[in-house]
C-alpha cells in the first residue's frame, strides 16, 4: 500500500460522516490541509500587519514584500484597473502557494494535486472574468474573439480557434496546476520507493535524485502558484482592457 505512489493522493474521512441532503461534506484530510494553509496565511499576515514600525521586523517584511510582489505583478500585467481585484488575486496566489508548499512536507496531503480543487478555482476565475468582461464592455466583449488585422478569408477559422482557446482556459489553468503537483509528487514517491527497494547498495542513486527533486519541486510549487496567479491577471487584463 505504502509503495503505491498514488496512495498519497487518497482522500479519506477524518471523524464522522457529515451529510447535507444528498451531499457528503465530511471533514477529510484535504479539508484539514485547506484549513491549515488558510490559517497559516492568516496567522503570518496578521502578525505581519499588526505593528507598523518604520523599520519592519522579519515577519512584517515578509508580509510587505508579498504584498508589493503581488501588487506589482497585477499592475504589470493587468494595469491599474485591476486594483479592485487585488485582494482576490493575492488570496489566490497565497492559497495555492501555501497548499503547494504544505504538500512538500513529508506525510502531508497536497490540496492542489486534486483536479476538482484546481478546477473549481479555475472555473470560478473563468466565470468571474467573463462576467466582468460583459459588465465592462457589454456585447462588445465578444470582439475578443475577432482579432484585428486578420484577413476576412481566415476570419471564420480564427474566430472558432479563439472561442475554443477561450473556453479551454479553465481546463488548461486547472490541469496545469494539478498535473504539475501530481507528477512531481508521484515522481518523488517513485524515487523514494527505489531507495527502499534497492537498499543500502543501490539506494544512493535514487536518494540523490530524490534530494534534487525536492529542490525542483519546491521551485515548481512556487512557480505554479505564480503561473496560476499571473494567468488569472492576464485573463483579467483581457476582460478589463479589451485590446483586440
Amino acid at each position: 500500500m505504502a509503495a503505491n505512489p498514488m496512495s498519497q493522493f487518497d482522500v479519506y474521512r477524518i471523524g464522522p460522516e457529515i451529510k447535507v441532503g444528498a451531499f457528503d461534506i465530511s471533514f477529510t484530510n484535504a479539508s484539514l490541509f485547506m484549513i491549515l494553509s488558510t490559517l497559516s496565511i492568516l496567522l503570518i499576515f496578521n502578525l505581519g500587519s499588526k505593528k507598523n514600525s518604520i523599520l519592519p521586523n522579519k515577519i512584517q517584511l515578509l508580509a510587505e514584500l508579498s504584498y508589493t510582489f503581488v501588487s506589482k505583478m497585477i499592475s504589470d500585467t493587468a494595469g491599474s484597473k485591476a486594483k479592485p481585484y487585488f485582494a482576490f488575486i493575492f488570496s489566490l496566489f497565497m492559497f495555492v502557494l501555501f497548499c503547494n508548499m504544505f504538500g512538500m512536507i513529508p506525510y502531508t496531503f497536497t490540496v492542489t494535486s486534486h483536479i476538482i480543487v484546481t478546477f473549481v478555482l479555475a472555473a470560478f476565475i473563468f466565470i468571474g472574468v467573463t462576467v466582468i468582461g460583459f459588465i465592462k464592455h457589454g456585447f462588445g466583449y465578444l470582439k475578443l474573439f475577432v482579432p484585428s488585422g486578420v484577413p476576412a478569408v481566415l476570419l471564420p477559422l480564427i474566430v472558432v480557434i479563439e472561442i475554443i482557446s477561450y473556453l479551454s482556459r479553465p481546463i488548461s489553468l486547472s490541469v496545469r496546476l494539478f498535473a504539475n503537483m501530481m507528477a512531481g509528487h508521484t515522481m518523488m514517491k517513485v524515487f523514494g520507493g527505489f531507495v527502499i527497494s534497492l537498499g543500502i547498495v543501490g539506494g544512493w542513486l535514487p536518494l540523490s535524485f530524490s534530494v534534487a527533486l525536492t529542490g525542483l519541486e519546491i521551485l515548481v510549487a512556487f512557480l505554479q502558484a505564480y503561473v496560476f496567479a499571473i494567468l488569472t491577471c492576464i485573463y483579467l487584463n483581457d476582460a478589463l482592457n479589451l485590446h483586440h
Binding site: M1, A3, M6, A30, I41, Y67, F194
Partner: protein, 196 residues
C-alpha cells in the same frame, strides 16, 4: 563487473516496482468522485473565509502601513531638505557677515590711518612753522649781533688803544683821531676779522 550488476539491479528493480504499482493501483484517486462535493465545500468555505479576512482586515492594514511608511519617509526627506536649505542660508548669512565685517574693519583701519597721517602732517606743519620761526628769530638776532659787533669792537679797540697810548706815552690823546685810525684799520682789515 560490480558496476554492471549494480546498474542491472537498478534497471530490473525499476521494472519490478512498476509492475507492482500497476498491480496495486486502482487508477488516480483524483478521479474518484466520492469526496468531490466535500472538497468543493471545504475549498469554498476556507478560501472564502480567508479572502474575506484578508481583504477586509489584513490587506488594508498592510497597505496602510506601506503608505504611512512611504509618506513618513517622504516627510523626513522633506524635513532634511528644508534643514539643509536653512543651514545653507545661514552659512551664506554668516559668510556675508564675515565679508561685511572684513570690509568694515578695512575701512576703519584706513580711516584711522588717514586720520593719523593727517594729524601727523598737521603737527609737523605746526612744528615746522615753529622751528622756522625760531630759526628766523635766531638768525635775526645773530644778524643784529653781527651788525653790532664791529661797532662794539671798534669802540673797545678805540678805548683800549687810547688807554694803551696813555700808558705808553703818558699823554692824553684825542679820541677822535684814534677812532679815525681804528675805522680806517677796520675797514681795511674787516674782511680778515669778521669773515664777511
Amino acid at each position: 563487473m560490480v558496476k554492471k550488476i549494480y546498474f542491472q539491479s537498478i534497471f530490473f528493480s525499476f521494472f519490478f516496482i512498476k509492475e507492482a504499482f500497476a498491480a496495486e493501483s486502482g487508477g488516480m484517486p483524483q478521479l474518484n468522485p466520492e469526496f468531490w462535493i466535500s472538497q468543493i465545500f471545504w475549498l469554498i468555505l476556507t478560501f472564502g473565509i480567508m479572502y474575506l479576512v484578508l481583504s477586509k482586515l489584513i490587506l488594508p492594514k498592510i497597505s496602510n502601513n506601506l503608505e504611512s511608511r512611504k509618506s513618513q519617509i517622504l516627510e523626513n526627506i522633506e524635513a532634511a531638505e528644508k534643514q539643509r536649505e536653512d543651514s545653507d542660508a545661514k552659512l551664506k548669512e554668516y559668510d556675508e557677515i564675515i565679508s561685511k565685517s572684513k570690509l568694515e574693519a578695512n575701512s576703519i583701519f584706513n580711516q584711522a590711518r588717514e586720520k593719523a597721517l593727517k594729524d601727523i602732517g598737521a603737527k609737523r606743519e605746526v612744528l615746522d612753522e615753529q622751528i622756522d620761526n625760531e630759526i628766523a628769530e635766531a638768525e635775526k638776532e645773530i644778524d643784529i649781533l653781527r651788525k653790532n659787533a664791529p661797532d662794539k669792537i671798534n669802540k673797545i679797540a678805540i678805548e683800549t688803544s687810547s688807554e694803551l697810548l696813555q700808558k705808553l706815552i703818558g699823554a692824553e690823546v684825542n679820541n677822535s683821531s684814534i677812532s679815525a685810525i681804528v675805522d680806517d684799520l677796520s675797514k681795511r682789515n674787516g674782511d680778515k676779522y669778521y669773515g664777511n
